[in-house]
């Protein structure tokens, strides 16, 4: 029958994918990651740089948890367009955010007088 497109989606709502256990797992894991991040910050468990890294890892982990358990990405049938779009989004977000930080930081210490002094002194092997 010609009208049936090859892209028919067999489950319009995430019937097969969604289950109570999925949501509960996601919820509990999210709580764990949130509390961990909170305690690490308020109790100064790690040094500054390690804390930053840890917080970002915890945030990314919680992101993945919620994307998998709450948004059901990873459960879809092929072709996995939603996943592709998600991956593209993550890539472009990282480019924009990290790129902007890199560029602006670079510009800031070169283009701001007092910071320029600090930078130049460092270059001379000073501070």
């Amino acid at each position: 029958m010609e009208e049936v497109s090859s892209n028919v989606v067999h489950a319009t709502l995430p019937r097969k994918q969604a289950s109570l256990s999925g949501y509960i797992n996601g919820f509990i894991l999210s709580i764990i990651f949130t509390v961990w991040a909170y305690v690490a910050t308020t109790h100064h468990t790690w040094t500054h740089n390690k804390l930053i890294a840890a917080l970002l890892v915890l945030a990314s982990a919680q992101f993945l948890v919620q994307v998998f358990f709450f948004l059901h990405i990873g459960h879809e049938t092929k072709p996995r367009w939603k996943l592709l779009l998600l991956v593209m989004m993550v890539i472009f977000v990282l480019i924009l955010v990290l790129g902007s930080i890199w560029i602006m930081n670079n510009l800031n210490y070169r283009m701001t007088p007092d910071q320029m002094n600090t930078y130049m002194l460092k270059q001379d092997g000073g501070i």
Binding site: E2, E3, S6, I95, L96, G99, I103, M104, L107
Partner: protein, 666 residues
């Protein structure tokens, strides 16, 4: 006089109507044309027709036509600005000050750039995508027809707002990108920059919605059997472009908002004090701005990918490599944006990274150019007007591209940044890329949409004028740039010896204007000659893709039966085998989206809200936003009931039978 209502109307007062004769004249002619249009419509009793057939349509073909009409009207305005700038620079060798004041000149070049990029470039592009994309995929319409109409009306609302700035208030004098601190309240206290912000903001949201719409159309509405590697190359390019739209336009939305927040609410994102950082604006706006130029040019590449095979009577060379090249361009276009501000002061490591990435992006572009040339090689070339546009493009675009690679070297860019060399480069890319691509596409698909061919001879003459005129108008600018001429100069010292080059450039601009005149003539003549040039077969060029299988113009539903596709260039294959692309039996009733007035109401509400934002009339903003929200809510209610209308099978059978008879008689 309006003191009583001072708070009521924000900063709007009667003395915001234009003072100087040129602006007042332009504004008055614009208003008069609109009034004349209204009188004509009333006299010929065409309001009902306009409302039912055009203003409330959700059909992609009609929406495409409307986009193109708006874009072409704005092209005339942008060209007028260009001619004014050329005239000014050709006559402003000191001690002369040319024809206009510096303030006027600043508004003219700001308007020129803004109009050309946002309303001509984006408009032509969305227009042609609307016209062609669904049919090429074997689909009946885009994924979200109502959203499509809304996008068009948002685009038009933005266009109306920028034209409104001519009638009341002023336009921005801060260039087409409005860098702070100049665009901040302190240095641009008037409404100009706010008009700029809001017309772009609304049009930008329209574009973003279209990006989502077309992406979904390509992924979800292909004919059965049409896997991604069988879609027309135009569709691949549109897909890449729409991915860029989806991921780049939100950056513009945010940046415009932040600038507005600085201006209207005293925030400190980009201000010179209070912890603002004006360089961050430049960073953000170009993070959007670079993808934007690829958004514009990729569909033009797609148009050429359709035209060259047809007129070489040979399939596109290297389809797979074209796909990879397209995605290479999409990805790379997101990591080159700093090349627009090499001179802002970043270090060598930052500049070098972006310089190398910029050079890299020339590679996939080169792949495309070679593939087109290889397609032509040993083909049976037909020298039609679309091919004339293509050949002009190949020659000119390559030159422009090479100047781009030149400027990708930061050390060289330090010499030519913001000079006329840069101006020549980007006009080179946009005119020979986007504009020629569009004109080629318009000439190519015109018979499909309107049912008759355009006059080929006049079309070729117009193309020659554009190609020669472009060279005359912009090659002198390359030379001037290398000689040290800065951009946006309203006058210069006569001893520099630049005037002769500016005069040549002015002549070139006039030849382009002649080309435009010929195009208008072409349209008029073609309309008069339409009965002799009717396209009766639906396939006037002996082309390759599915859109040519329908009648010209196609029926509302495009395909009576959705074709089953087994390979690329399905229509061509069917023609060679002597089979029918669209089966001519077993017609079922077809559902099409109903007309709706919600699109135009949302456009109107957005226009009013934006006007309120510009003039700080807050109650108007709230009212208009509430109106837009209510319209959306009403539309969703309506969709529940019956958002679609059915075309009965009998009517379809009759339409198709008529087309078959017409084809046999031809």
């Amino acid at each position: 006089m309006l003191g009583l209502f001072a708070g009521f109307l924000g900063r709007l007062t009667l003395d915001q109507l234009p003072h100087n004769p040129v602006t007042a004249g332009a504004a008055a002619s614009m208003v008069l044309i609109v009034i004349a249009g209204i009188i004509a419509m009333t006299y010929f009793k065409k309001w009902r027709w306009l409302w039912d057939e055009w203003l409330t349509t959700t059909n992609h073909k009609r929406i495409g036509v409307m986009y193109i009409i708006v874009a072409l009207v704005m092209l005339l305005r942008g060209l007028a600005d260009a001619l004014m700038m050329r005239a000014q620079q050709a006559t402003a060798a000191s001690p002369s000050h040319g024809l206009m004041s510096p303030e006027m000149f600043q508004q003219v070049f700001s308007a020129h750039g803004t109009i050309m990029i946002f309303f001509v470039g984006m408009g032509l592009m969305f227009g042609i995508i609307n016209l062609v994309l669904p049919q090429g995929l074997g689909a009946r319409d885009v994924a979200f027809p109502f959203l499509n109409a809304t996008s068009f009306w948002l685009f038009t609302a933005g266009m109306l707002l920028i034209n409104m700035s001519l009638v009341i208030g002023e336009f921005s004098a801060a260039g087409w990108l409005a860098y702070p601190p100049l665009s901040e309240l302190k240095y641009s206290p008037g409404v100009g920059v706010d008009y700029w912000i809001w017309s772009l903001q609304i049009a930008g949201i329209g574009s973003l919605l279209s990006g989502i719409n077309f992406m979904t159309t390509i992924l979800k509405m292909r004919a059965p059997g049409m896997s991604m590697m069988k879609i027309p190359m135009f569709a691949w390019n549109v897909f890449g472009s729409m991915v860029l739209v989806a991921f780049a336009f939100p950056i513009l939305t945010v940046t415009l908002t932040l600038l507005y927040l600085d201006r209207a609410f005293g925030m400190h994102f980009f201000t010179a004090g209070g912890g603002g950082n004006a360089m961050m604006y430049v960073n953000l706006i170009w993070a959007w701005g670079h993808p934007e130029v690829y958004i514009l040019v990729l569909p033009a590449f797609g148009v050429f990918s359709e035209i060259v095979p047809t007129f070489s009577r040979k399939r596109l060379f290297g389809y797979t490599s074209m796909v990879y090249a397209t995605w290479g361009i999409v990805f790379l276009s997101f990591i080159v944006w700093l090349h627009h501000f090499f001179t802002m002061g970043a270090g060598a490591d930052v500049n070098a990274f972006f310089g190398i990435m910029t050079m890299a992006i020339a590679i996939p572009t080169g792949v495309k150019i070679f593939n087109w040339l290889f397609t032509m090689y040993q083909g049976q070339i037909r020298f039609t007007s679309p091919m004339v546009w293509f050949l002009g493009f190949v020659f000119l675009f390559t030159i422009g591209g090479v100047t781009g690679v030149l400027m990708a070297v930061p050390a060289i860019d330090y010499q030519v940044h913001n000079s006329l060399f840069l101006v020549a480069h980007f006009h080179n890319m946009i005119i020979s890329g986007v504009v020629f691509g569009f004109f080629a596409g318009l000439t190519y698909w015109f018979p499909k949409i309107f049912g008759f061919r355009l006059n080929e001879r006049i079309g070729k003459y117009a193309a020659y004028c554009w190609i020669g005129g472009f060279a005359l108008a912009f090659f002198p600018l390359y030379i001037l740039g290398l000689m040290g001429a800065t951009r946006r100069l309203d006058h210069y010292d006569a001893s520099l010896g630049w005037q002769p080059l500016f005069i040549v450039a002015g002549i070139g601009a006039m030849i382009i204007a002649l080309g435009v005149g010929l195009q208008i003539l072409q349209l008029i003549v073609s309309i008069f000659q339409r009965n002799n040039n009717r396209d009766l077969t639906g396939d006037p060029w002996n082309a390759r893709t599915l859109e040519w299988a329908t009648s010209s113009p196609p029926p509302e539903y495009n395909f009576a039966t959705i074709p089953l596709v087994t390979e690329r260039d399905a229509f061509w294959v069917a023609k060679q085998k002597g089979t029918k692309t669209i089966p001519s039996h077993d017609y079922h009733p077809i559902q099409v989206a109903k007309n709706t007035s919600s699109g135009i109401f949302i456009g109107v509400a957005s226009f009013i809200a934006a006007f309120g934002f510009v003039w700080h009339i807050w109650w108007l903003v709230l009212l208009a936003l509430a109106g837009a929200l209510a319209t959306i809510f009403y539309q969703t209610l309506r969709e529940d009931e019956a958002g679609e209308r059915t075309i009965p099978a009998a009517e379809i059978a009759a339409t198709e039978a008529a087309f078959r008879k017409q084809k046999e008689a031809a």
